[in-house]
Amino acid sequence: MILELKDYLDDMKRCARCSLCKWPPLAQMKSWRFSNNCPSIARYNFHTYSGGGRMALGLALAEGRLDTITDELLNIVYRCTACGACDSSCKYNAELEVLWPIYSTRAHLAGMGYFLPEHSMIIDSLRKEDNTLMKPKADRGKWAEGLGVKDLSKGEKAEVVYHAGCLYCYDPELSAIARDTVLLLKQAGVDVGIRGSQETCCGSTAFQLGFQGEFIKFAESNIDDWNAAGVARVVTSCACGFGIMKSVYPLLGRQMKFEVLHITQYLDELLKQGKLRFSRSFPARVTYHDPCNLGRKSETYVPWKGTEKKVLGQFILREPEKAVSRGWNGVYEPPRDIIRSVPGIQFVEMERIMEYSWCCGAGSGVKQTMNDLALWTASERIAEAKSVGGEAIVTACAWCEQNLKEAVRQTGGNLMVYDIVELVRQAL
């Protein structure tokens, strides 16, 4: 297993309780209004909801300091999008893992049979239908009907497999974006195929909820299928899929004979190669929302394995040196380069961006189980977009887009929400 609470005892025991996990990196704070980085502590306020509080909770569980697992404890554990902002802010000053103890706490609880009732439905759906949305497996490939795209599950060959992801496959509005994506790739001359009804979930939600057995099953199956298909590249629109494929799949020890790209990286490449060219203007003041899984959570995680020894008296020296993922190497520039290159666009940044971006609120099953938290979090992002005069917010994740759109509808604003592919299609 890859999520073991005991592996993070030292991290949990060395939290300084300084609360840096509750803010963007201090040097990057720009205003009082947008000075939170963690939706969970910002919404619920008890220290327990912060990265540091969750570390304390995880440590208490690991040390047997909590006698009973209550419903409220489970609510606290899962009222968190596992967006990783706490982790990124902490590592500005320390080298502690914060996000992985959060995952491991969930895995610890799930391993004992403790999770929310809604999670049963999600995991059952995953087991039976290969998706977390409770949709029939047989319908997964319907979005691509009539596109004339190769189906690798039927033995056809292609250089690139396009992995749409669960939401893009099943949500009618988002399916249109998946169709547009395939058309764009074909227009650029890419030898692309899909896996139709045989495409399966990436396992991201299962991983983040702590169901690591299910995650491993789906991850290994995907790696095997893509290896068997002989593709050189896996291109996905699903930011969650991209994040998990980049950050966690490599830990499974299976050789990945393909390169994983997010669609924003691939489109950026095709635009820079001149294989796609914009011809139409998009006159609007546009901002960009960094999906957590495309940004700070897409760095390949390297678990530290080694020994600690004391030097200079009590200085704790790790051998070998620990590789620290601060979220600085996520996919940040490709989507921005695409947006900036669209004629007529006035691109403007929000205050919280890149590795200290504010989460949309949908991640880690929160959209499916605690929609009030998801929508509150999204409404904060919408307020931030408006504060910089944004007329439209562009993103590159199906969950972000869906959640932001619902929050705009609920708050009655006129901010437009676009998937980056929609923007590209409109500008071509």
């Binding site: 720009k30 220290h47 440590l59 080298e95 008296g313």
Partner: protein, 521 residues
């Protein structure tokens, strides 16, 4: 002793069910307090419930319930350290996190009115937009503005130009331990927030004196603090230089440098002269270890340390920052600095001349965001010692005493070898006062190390008493009630006054006295 359900409901009626909790997982997370715990990370005593009031009215109602039903309460702002928790059984914690608004920034009169959970960085970024800046304590910009102004010490190295939190305190709204509300200074006379000492009652000495009541004397729900002129850009743009964020552009008329001196006496003389000349924006002792940990971590730090280069170059050094309002003033300050260095044998350290160090240090002195890195990262456990506020000479005496004492424990291997002299901070208020702390790092999960650190702290307190070095930061309050008595008889029996104050303002002893003073003789 769990809270009775009917009492819990009284609190719940005040703040709403979502803002009170006695869930064991919540209470346990609050008990995680490594800073100040003798060993390990867990407090021994749990609050019975944590309550999140949002307004002064809610704080008043909670305090009145506590007085009526004999329940002890303890407030906290950002909650960093064991002293934030109640030290008695059966108490409730008031986490003031929801009281987090900047209520006013008066640009013309240069002050801000804040609630308890506004942190220094939030105030700084808003103040800078208006050409103003705020004092940030040495513990960092992640701490509460109000807490250091009203309740806990309040020194920071920018105090050379931006004072001390206790002095910067203007008007105050105070919920007494009884639940009555008292407004101090000008708000007490309905005259706005501009002054802490009148018109209206001035109780600055009562509410905090030198080091504050550490949450043991009611709840300060609003306060005004002085702001200071900021001559830099309204927003500071950063760039990434892993693992740091540093200023994208140098700030005009700012000069940051480390200076080293042949002896500690010469260093003290330089600090005094600079203060008397009323130049400079920031000054702090910075130990070779502190500097090294800003530059490197892990094996790189150890390798650098073992060369002895930093210790040699920075044996007696301080970081000094000039930040002038004009080129003319900048030149003037540079000339004065050169003269002081000439008089005292001071030299600029080449360490601080590299572009990387310039960027790093200039950012750190403004943002004060590097404390966790230098203090907690190496061993996990951290504490501080000495720290009386007095003259430059007394500060130097503390450094000398601390160095001797720390060397003993370093030789025993129970605390980190940081060269012994890991003192921080220096003169403030343009040299009229001085202050220094002696930092120490240890492994709080290693019994021998934790015990050694505790012995060191105990011995350092005794050294302050024996060598007449003043009263130490933290240890008096952190060790708990009754410890003031150790210093009281040597310091005008101030402990008796604290007890009297506690009795008068808190007749039911409703506000946890542990970190402050017991009302009993």
């Amino acid at each position: 002793m769990a809270l009775r359900r009917d009492t819990y409901r009284l609190f719940e009626n005040v703040v709403g069910p979502e803002n009170i909790s006695d869930e064991p997982a919540v209470l346990r997370s609050y008990m995680y307090q490594p800073f100040g715990s003798k060993e390990g990370v867990w407090a021994e005593i749990s609050p019975e419930a944590v309550i999140l009031p949002a307004t002064t009215e809610e704080v008043v109602a909670i305090a009145k319930i506590c007085n009526r039903y004999g329940i002890v309460f303890k407030p906290m702002s950002t909650g960093w350290g064991l002293h934030n928790l109640p030290g008695v059984e059966g108490a409730v914690s008031l986490d003031l996190r929801r009281m987090n608004r900047i209520l006013e920034i008066d640009e013309k009169n240069m002050y801000a009115v804040v609630e308890p959970h506004v942190i220094c960085m939030q105030l700084q970024v808003e103040a800078m937009k208006r050409g103003l800046n705020c004092h940030i304590i040495g513990a960092g910009s992640n701490t509460s503005v109000l807490a250091s102004a009203t309740s806990v010490v309040g020194y920071g190295p920018d105090g050379l130009s931006m004072g001390f939190s206790g002095r910067n305190l203007l008007g105050v709204e105070w919920v007494l331990p009884t639940g009555d509300v008292l407004k101090l200074g000008s708000p007490g006379a309905g005259s706005g927030w501009f002054c802490g000492d009148g018109p209206g009652p001035s109780l600055r000495g009562i509410i905090r004196g030198w080091e504050g009541a550490w949450g043991g004397l009611g709840v300060f729900t609003k306060c005004a603090v002085k702001l200071f002129h900021w001559n830099g850009p309204p927003e500071l743009e950063m760039k990434r230089t892993p693992p740091n964020y540093v200023l994208k552009e140098p700030i005009k008329n700012m000069k940051v440098a480390l200076f080293s001196f042949p002896t500690i006496e010469k260093l003290a003389e330089a600090a005094l002269q600079l203060g008397e000349a009323e130049i400079g924006w920031f000054v702090s002792r910075l130990s070779p270890s502190f500097v090294g940990l800003q530059m490197a971590s892990g094996a790189n730090y150890v390798a650098t340390w073992q060369t002895g280069m930093l210790q040699e170059m920075l044996k007696y050094s301080f970081l000094f920052v000039i930040f002038a309002n004009s080129e003319g003033e900048f030149d003037y300050q540079q000339k004065v600095l050169a003269q002081v260095l000439g008089d005292t044998g001071g030299q600029i350290s080449p360490v601080s001349e590299s572009r990387e160090m310039q960027e790093l240090t200039a950012t750190a002195v403004i943002k004060v965001d590097e404390v966790t890195r230098s203090c907690f990262r190496t061993t996990g456990g951290f504490n501080t010692s000495f720290g009386a506020m007095d003259t430059v000479d007394l500060a130097m005496s503390q450094i000398k005493a601390g160095r001797v004492l720390k060397d003993k424990y370093i030789r025993r291997g129970v605390i980190m070898d940081d060269g012994g002299d890991n003192s921080a901070t220096l003169v403030f208020d343009q040299g009229h006062m001085a202050y220094t702390e002696m930092l120490l790092m240890y492994d709080h999960h290693d019994h021998d190390s934790a015990e050694g650190a505790y012995q060191y702290l105990t011995e350092s307190n005794q050294a302050m008493l024996d060598q007449k070095l003043g009263t130490p930061i933290f240890q008096v309050s952190q060790v708990g009630q009754g410890k003031h008595g150790m210093f009281g008889s040597a310091c005008y029996n101030y402990d008796k006054w604290l007890r009297r104050i506690k009795r008068q303002f808190d007749p039911n002893n409703a506000c946890d006295p542990t970190a402050y003073s017991s009302p009993e003789e």
